[in-house]
Structure formats: C-alpha cells, structure tokens
C-alpha cells in the first residue's frame, strides 16, 4: 500500500514510460508533427484558412463539450466567450504591434507576443465565465442556458458601444500572426485537457453531476464548485479560440460572434454526442467542411449559382431541424458518451470499456 507522500510508485504503474514523463509526452510528440504540417501547408492560403477555421471550431466544440457534455449543463452562449477572447487578444496585439522583443528574432518575438495576447484573451474569457457561471450554476440547469445567451447579447451591445473595440464596424488591422501550427497546437492542448479531465477524479465528479446532481452532492461532491470550474476552463478555451480567430481573419466585428455562432457549436457537440470528445471533433470537422463542400459542388455544377449562395442561408434552419430530429431519433448523437476508438471495428486496437 502506498502511503501518502511516499516516493515509490505501485508496481503496476511502472511501465516503459517513466511516470514523470507521461504528463508531457504527448506535447513532445505533437510539436514536430505540427512543424511538419506547417512546412507542407504554409504555401496554400486557402488550405491554411480552411484548416484554421476547422481548428478553431474544434477548440470551441471540444471546450463546450466539457460543460454541455461531461457536466450535463447547457450553455448556449459560447460565442460570447469567443468574442471576449477575440477582442481582448486583438486589442492586445494591436497595442503591442510596435513592440519587439530585442533579444529575439522578429518572427519569434511576434509569436511570443501572440501567445501573450491569446492568454490575455483566454484569461479574460475565463473570468467572464466565472462571473456568469457563479450565479447561474447555483440554480437548475436551464438558467445557465438563458444567462449564457443573455451574456452573448451583453457582450455584443458592449462592443457596439465601445470605441476601443471599433463599435459596430469592428477591429481591423490585427497582425496576422496565426498559423496552422499554432491553431493546432491549441487544438491538441484542448483535446489533451478534455481527455485528461475525463479520465481523472475531477472528470468522474463531473460525470456524476451529469448523472445525478442530488446524489453527487450527497456523496460529498461540491457540485457548484465543479460546475463553475468546468465552466471556467471551457470559457478559457473559447477565449483562446476567439484569439486565434482574430489573428487570421481580416476583420472581427460583433457579427462574427452572434447567437448563430453559439448554436453552430451547440449543434456540433450534440451531433457528436454529448460527452464524447472525439465525437465533438468529428462533428466540428464535418459541419465546417460541409457548407464549403456544398458550395463548391453547386459552384461546379454551375447552373444554380444562386443556390451556392443560399447554402449559408439554409444552414441555420437546417441546424435547428437537425437538433430536433436528433433529439427525437438519436438523442445520444453519433457516439453517445463513447469515444472514436470505442466504436471502431473490432479488429482495431481498443481501449478499455468505460467512461473514462
């Protein structure tokens, strides 16, 4: 039996990878892959843009899944937190535009400032998440839906009334620091965080809250505390996604972060399966590329030019109908709470069954 504070580890924890390294190994493996990706894709602006959009949507979906999927709460204002991150990071970058860290080459200095801006955006979004989450998460689940929705509106009105954020016109001229590698580094990070939370005792407490809040509370789980913390982490990554977004689009304005955007993310999470991280990823990729695909198919067919333009318009009501149909026919979404490897064919290597 391992006594608390003992430095030796139980036998079955020993393995080819030393425990101290296990925490960081995925990061060390991911970095060269990202560098390679950047090197091969850097040439095509369209591929870069599309991949970045997909990446940002993955971050949004996976982070929302922490609240809506794992914890069983229902936030429908994720775009609001994204907006906070985008504007704060954007303003930070704009005001640091002239600054250069003299001890670094210019490109490296820019990237350092970029990360600073991203973190500023993420932290502000997390703070907003705390302020919004605390009152509403004390109450029953439906209140969070309303309050997050309202929060998005408040942010929109606030931005439209603030000179520093460019009012309704938006912010332009934000330095285009973003790269595929940076976006996917954060994608990788949010997935890692989501998976590690899911597999840890914190994750189990979140699942417990999702399953039965009264019982969880009676078993000593500080339900409000866990819900607020899950919400804060989720908001942080939404802010990061917003910050990344602000650094590869030419302009951000309040129109980029409306209720429609929030709903898009919700649909991704529900379609993928509430509680499934890989489900959220698959759905995010699918729903981001689908309109692009439809557009180019219609464009290729040529004759129906107006139809190609309507793709964007039709997308919104289709999302709504999709939600209703999903709830009636397959409320657990594509994967339920399972992960991709749980539903893969039998001959592929599988992980142990269970939630975590």
């Amino acid at each position: 039996m391992a006594t608390p504070g003992a430095t030796t580890l139980p036998d079955d924890m020993a393995g080819p990878i030393p425990p101290a390294l296990r925490g960081l190994l995925p990061v060390l493996l991911a970095l060269p892959v990202l560098a390679l990706a950047e090197w091969t894709l850097g040439a095509s602006p369209f591929a870069t843009y599309l991949l970045s959009v997909v990446g940002v949507n993955i971050i949004l979906a996976v982070s929302l899944n922490i609240v809506n999927g794992m914890t069983g709460q229902f936030s429908i204002g994720h775009a609001g937190f994204m907006a906070v991150g985008a504007y704060i990071a954007g303003v930070t970058s704009l005001s640091l535009k002239e600054v250069a860290l003299s001890f670094l080459p210019v490109a490296a200095s820019d990237q350092v400032l970029f990360v600073v801006a991203l973190l500023a955006g993420g932290v502000c979004a997390a703070l907003c998440g705390f302020l919004v989450g605390l009152p509403s998460l004390r109450l029953r689940g439906d209140y969070l839906a309303i309050v997050t929705l309202g929060f998005g509106e408040i942010i929109r009105v606030f931005v439209q009334n603030t000179e520093a954020f460019g009012r309704a016109l938006g912010l332009s001229g934000i330095p285009q620091y973003s790269s595929v590698a940076m976006v996917y580094f954060w994608v990788f990070l949010v997935v890692l965080v989501a998976r590690r939370i899911a597999g840890s005792s914190h994750g189990r407490s979140l699942w417990a809250i999702r399953e039965d809040e009264v019982a969880a509370e009676a078993m000593g789980v500080d339900t409000t505390g866990y819900k607020v913390r899950a919400f804060v982490i989720s908001s942080f990554f939404a802010g990061i996604a917003g910050g990344l977004f602000a650094h590869f689009v030419p302009i951000i304005n309040p129109g980029s972060f409306t209720f429609v955007k929030s709903m898009e993310i919700v649909v991704m999470v529900v379609l993928g399966g509430l509680g499934s991280t890989t489900g959220a990823i698959v759905a995010a990729i699918f729903l981001t590329l689908l309109p692009e695909g439809l557009r180019s198919v219609f464009g290729y067919l040529g004759a129906e030019g107006s139809l190609a333009q309507k793709v964007d318009q039709i997308r919104m009501p289709v999302y709504g109908v999709l939600l209703v149909v999903l709830m009636l026919a397959r409320p657990q979404g594509l994967f339920g709470t399972k992960e991709l490897w749980d539903v893969l064919p039998r001959w592929l290597p599988r992980k142990k069954k269970g939630l975590s």
């Binding site: 069983g72 229902f74 429908i76 919004v132 009152p135 509403s136 004390r138 109450l139 689940g141 439906d142 209140y143 839906a145 309303i146 309050v147 929705l149 309202g150 929060f151 509106e153 408040i154 929109r156 009105v157 606030f158 439209q160 009334n161 009264v214 209720f259 429609v260 709903m263 919700v266 529900v270 509430l274 309507k310 318009q313 039709i314 919104m316 009501p317 999302y319 709504g320 109908v321 999709l322 939600l323 209703v324 999903l326 709830m327 009636l328 409320p331």
Partner: protein
C-alpha cells in the same frame, strides 16, 4: 416631471405586452418544467399570420373593428394550432426523457423557425423587417401641456386588450375545471394522470392557450413597433422570459409584475441613459436578480424532491 410620467406610460405599455408573452413561458413551465424556447418564435409566426391576414383584408377592411378582430382571431387561432403541433410531435415523445433533450429540442425549434422565416424561398418572408400595417390608426388621445405627455390610442387599446386577456387567464386558471386540472398537472403530472385527469389533453391545451396569448401579444408589439421581422420572436421572447424569471418562473402574478418592471426599467434606460444599451438591460437585470434572489422576486427555489 412630465418626462417621468411619459416614460412611466411608455414603460407600462411595453410591460403589459411582455407580460402576455411571459405568462406563456410561466404556464408551460408550470405544467412541463420546460423552458419553451420556441415560445417567442411561435409569437413571431403569429405576427406574420396577422400580417398576411391584414393584407388579404385590404387597406380599408383591416382598419375596421371587425378587421382587427379577424386579424387577431386568425393569428391567435393559427398559433394555437402551431403550439398544438409542436407539443404533439416534438415535446410529447420526449416527456419521459432527460430534461436536457426537451430543452435542446425547444432550442432547435426556435432556431428553425426564426432562421427558416429569414429565407426568401416560397412563402417565407425573407430576412428584412417589413412595415406592419397600421391596423389601429395612431391618434393622440390624451395630451398634457404642450405635448409634454402624450398617450396614444394604441397604448390604451393594447393595455386594455392585455389586461382583458390576463383577467381571462386568471379566471381560467383559478375558477374553471380546466384550470384546476392544469394546476394539478403542474403539481405532479403522474399523480394527476392517476386521478383521472387527461394529462395529455391538459398539456396540449396549455400550449395552445399560451401560444394564442403570445400571438395576441406579438400583434400588439408589432402595432407598437409598426414592423415585423423574423428575429422579433427571439428578442421579445427572451425579454419576456427574463421577465418571467424575475417574477419567479411558474408564478402567474409574478410574471406580470416582472414584465411591468422590465418594461419600466428598459424605458428608463432608453430615456435617461442611452438607447443603444436597451438590449443589454434585460440580461444585466436578470443576472442581478439571480445573484441576489435566485428564485425570482416571488418564487421560491424549490428543492428537488429526494
């Protein structure tokens, strides 16, 4: 002073309209414990029905008393039907499922309606707002001083219509067999079913009633704003919902008081601060109320039965 009076009047006028919509949220929440997110959008559909009817009637007929009655009847009847269909085919199959499923469905319906109506395919009206016909020709009925305080005829008329509808509702809920059954279902729908109350029918009727009320309120709102747009349901609906929560959701008089309060607060912000902040006020107010008095002004935070 007269400015204050004017704001009071305007605030009460919009407050009563919010109240009618808020009552729909509260009633449905009462019987199903569901936030009917689509409520505001059902209202919007009703307004478009009224709009189409007004056009069909033509310019002269729509201004006559009978014209107005027909417009209201068509919109309210059509919405009752819509409410019935939504309940029957979207919510009823989910009644025994986790609450989240019904909530997501409601959000889905809301989204499908509010963005579906923005398409310009077939009979759908398209995204841009349209002018709502002046079915009640605006007249100044009551003026103090040199136009210091103005009360418009539509303000009085809509106030009277709203109050009439509310009194009728109060009578319906507390004085009729239907109302008694509805309150029983709200208390515990399984036990109510065991007592021989036709739960399904009561819930369907509640939906129809609340949708009809919403349509009436929507028309009054459209007359006040002289415009109709696919997104009006989302905005009016949300504010009415906020009003219902402020009053304590599930509480009928609470919804009315919350709505009047919200109408007044909004009007005062527009009047004394900046009109651009109007849309943020409702939610700021909501977060404040939830922080200080989580159950709403008149509600209690009901502990879940263990």
């Amino acid at each position: 002073m007269s400015q204050l009076l004017q704001h009071l009047i305007n605030g009460l006028a919009s407050g009563t309209i919010y109240a009618l919509v808020a009552l729909g949220y509260t009633m449905v929440y009462g019987v199903l414990k569901l936030i009917n997110f689509a409520h505001g959008d059902v209202m919007m559909v009703g307004v478009y029905m009224g709009y189409a009817t007004a056009f069909a009637l033509g310019r002269e007929a729509q201004r006559s008393l009978w014209g107005v009655v027909i417009i209201f009847a068509v919109a309210m009847g059509g919405c009752a039907l819509l409410g019935f269909l939504i309940e029957r085919f979207a919510y009823r199959p989910l009644r025994e499922k986790p609450r989240l499923t019904a909530l997501i469905t409601a959000i889905g319906i809301s989204f499908a309606l509010s963005y579906g109506f923005q398409l310009d395919i077939g009979f759908l009206p398209g995204a841009s707002p349209r002018a709502f016909p002046e079915v009640i020709v605006p007249t100044e009925w009551f003026i103090i001083g040199d136009r210091d305080v103005v009360v418009w005829n539509w303000q009085v008329i809509s106030f009277l219509i709203a109050v009439t509808l509310m009194v009728t509702l109060q009578f319906l809920v507390y004085r009729t067999r239907f109302g008694k059954a509805m309150r029983a279902v709200s208390w515990d729908h399984r036990t109510a079913a065991l007592m021989g109350i036709p739960t399904d029918r009561i819930i369907a009727l509640t939906f129809m009633l609340s949708s009809a009320l919403a349509a009436g309120a929507g028309l009054l709102y459209a007359i006040k704003d002289t415009s109709v747009s696919p997104l009006m349901g989302l905005y009016v609906g949300l504010k009415a919902f906020v009003a219902a929560v402020i009053g304590g959701i599930g509480n009928v008089p609470g919804a009315v008081v919350g709505a009047l309060l919200l109408g007044l607060v909004e009007e005062f912000v527009v009047g004394y601060a900046a009109s651009t902040w109007r849309d943020a006020v409702a939610f700021g107010f909501l977060i404040l109320v939830l922080l200080v008095k989580p159950g709403g002004l008149f509600g209690r935070v009901a502990a879940e039965k263990v």
